[in-house]
Symmetry: C2
């Protein structure tokens, strides 16, 4: 099982017209799996190069989402730039873009032209609402997708306060679905030689994460209710007070609930006529919460977490990012990695959530300087240096 085996997407060339987050996250996932990702940038570069905190002139946000990519500067408003892109697409396996629907076609690269140029090309679009329907022309943004997808309607403390997740979840979900769709389409292409178009919309992706909340809606025609950290159907469940802080407890069935109650010194509570069914426990949720808080005030959070997990009860603490990255489990999983950037030293970024045993993902390249690979990539593709305005790089 030599780790010198080639990565799964080794030999796949991705032309990446994306910027900001959803698309660059997708192309980073492809690069992490071994693809050669050519990030095409205007002379101003991806706006994220200027966003977030900088250190020694480098945005760590940009660095963290553009590893394993090469940067080529092209002015796609010029015929020369379009000709260079055309040449690159002829030799590529994948094109990824996150313009609004229609923009790429107006630039001269309709789906029909792309298929004519390269029938094996997998073309992927990530956008806000999809390219069919009344909202296709609307500008998209993560916050709006969270609002319109139903995500916010159940996130937050109560029905009067719908709330976005602070994380840009609709960007990330769309990027991840797109990567899955692209690799699937590549596998289809490997068999019959034909590419196809892969489209992923932020609203659709966020909506798909409603999961069983959507199933329940379909079967009951009711909207799911917001319950904050409580479970909409089960009690006890949620955050409880210990001697020195809160812990999250999620006993997912009655057997595990009995283990919890035994461990916290209330072994007969499920025989109490007030609490002898989930319906009763749910109806008296506040009262039950107080009883559990009182029982757990007798020991520290860390001790309870150890004791409950030993007993088979899912339990943990709410961790800040400072907690997370010093947590020995997260350290063991290498979920923060340091990548050397020439002239900037090591830049810390998130590690790889998908662990492959034989061909593990690695940071083979740091995030590129703007236009760093313009000469090398265009020369190899036979594009004349004069044609592209690459003095910008």
């Amino acid at each position: 099982m030599g780790v010198s085996a080639k990565l799964p997407l080794d030999g796949v060339r991705v032309i990446d017209l994306t910027r900001i987050l959803s698309g660059p996250f997708c192309s980073m996932l492809l690069g992490d799996m071994g693809a050669e990702v050519i990030k095409i940038e205007s002379r101003d570069g991806d706006p994220v190069r200027a966003q977030g905190h900088h250190k020694d002139g480098l945005s760590w946000y940009f660095a963290g989402f553009n590893r394993n990519k090469k940067s080529v500067v092209l002015d796609l408003h010029t015929d020369e730039g379009k000709a260079a892109l055309t040449r690159l697409l002829e030799g590529a396996d994948v094109l990824v873009e996150n313009y609004r629907p229609g923009v790429l076609a107006r630039m001269g690269f309709s789906q029909a032209r792309l298929e004519a140029l390269n029938p094996g090309l997998v073309t992927a679009s990530i956008n806000g609402f999809g390219s069919e329907g009344p909202y296709t022309e609307r500008p998209a943004f993560d916050f709006i997708a969270q609002a319109m997808s139903g995500f916010m309607s159940v996130n937050g403390p109560d029905a009067a306060h719908p709330m976005r997740a602070a994380q840009p979840i609709s960007d990330l979900i769309a990027g991840l679905y797109s990567a899955f769709g692209i690799v699937s389409a590549l596998r289809g292409r490997d068999r019959d030689g034909l590419g196809q178009h892969v489209e992923t919309a932020m609203v659709n992706g966020a909506l798909s994460f409603m999961a069983y909340l959507a199933s329940e809606h379909f079967v009951t025609d009711r909207n799911p209710v917001q319950t904050g950290n409580d479970h909409p159907l089960v009690a006890p469940y949620g955050l409880y007070e210990t001697a020195d802080g809160q812990i999250a407890i999620a006993p997912s069935n009655e057997q595990i609930l009995q283990k919890l109650l035994s461990e916290i010194g209330l072994p007969t509570l499920m025989q109490d006529p007030r609490f002898d069914s989930n319906d009763k426990r749910f109806a008296r949720r506040a009262e039950l919460h107080d009883i559990l808080d009182a029982a757990m005030a007798t020991d520290s959070r860390d001790n309870w977490i150890a004791r409950l997990n030993r007993a088979g009860v899912p339990a943990g603490k709410v961790q800040s990012l400072q907690d997370v990255f010093t947590d020995p489990q997260i350290v063991a999983q290498e979920m923060a990695i340091d990548v050397h950037h020439e002239g900037h030293g090591n830049v810390r970024m998130l590690g790889f959530p998908v662990k492959l045993s034989r061909t593990p993902c690695a940071a083979r390249l740091p995030a590129p300087k703007l236009g760093e690979h313009t000469d090398a990539v265009l020369s190899a593709a036979g594009v004349s240096p004069m044609a592209t305005g690459r003095e910008i790089s």
Copy 2:
């Protein structure tokens, strides 16, 4: 571009030992892409068969996450059941499981044995914390993963109230990453004939969704702050009051902010010395919020949404699921589909977030009855009927 072309994962056989949500979501994604998914169930079946609202004896939650699968009942506590599983694995391309780390090996299917049985097998594990590190033996649950990954530390109204997302995000993120990893590993296998192990942990997946919040933490060593629906760095941004309800507005740069202010009748606000920089606007966020609310009280929510989007300003409303599934865009995107289940009529479920142009995903099979395919699958694999206790089906 005939749509009769084979789906990307046509011919891929997945043996699916998963239950509840993270694993079944992953295997459904593979099935939607064309894989043949053989869901192995105990005689009691996946617990989700008994969860959620039922209609005519069918859980719509189960139906919605188990389409495009076949069900085979095996008792894996018996030698006969293990022998049948062995035979199935010899002829499979993928094994997916979401037991706690070590459980499958204790059942007799260590990674070494699986490789010996079938060197081309891609084996995928979805678990809570990963199989290396101090917490590998802990029971996992979505709520705990949300707490420990940092997700809850920034979700919610303020720092005193960390909050889970109501959606089972860590299950879904892990399932989606796993599907991406599996298809990638399959593509590697198509080249060199060798499978490998693909592991995805719920905590790692949820942590990866901290995205630029993690980047900012790494570069500043500070924890991100909770800001509810406000943006941590930019104002205005958030939910605003119109004549008849709230709208979400996200002007992502100053050009778009100027478009917003012009459209709502405040074209010179950015020249006001109180608001002529983002820093000032951010410092006077509450005051600015009141000014925007007053300006937008002059028209209805739907009108503002139309006007602002026409002007290029991302804007939308917070939609409940009832709103979502009557939204003409969601309808156009076919994000709710009806699948006929024999004896149960049509069951409504979420559609396909990844749209493939040439080989679109489809519900080729409804969710299976428990053991519905036991005879057919085992007979085809040459397993003797007497050996499996399949009378249970």
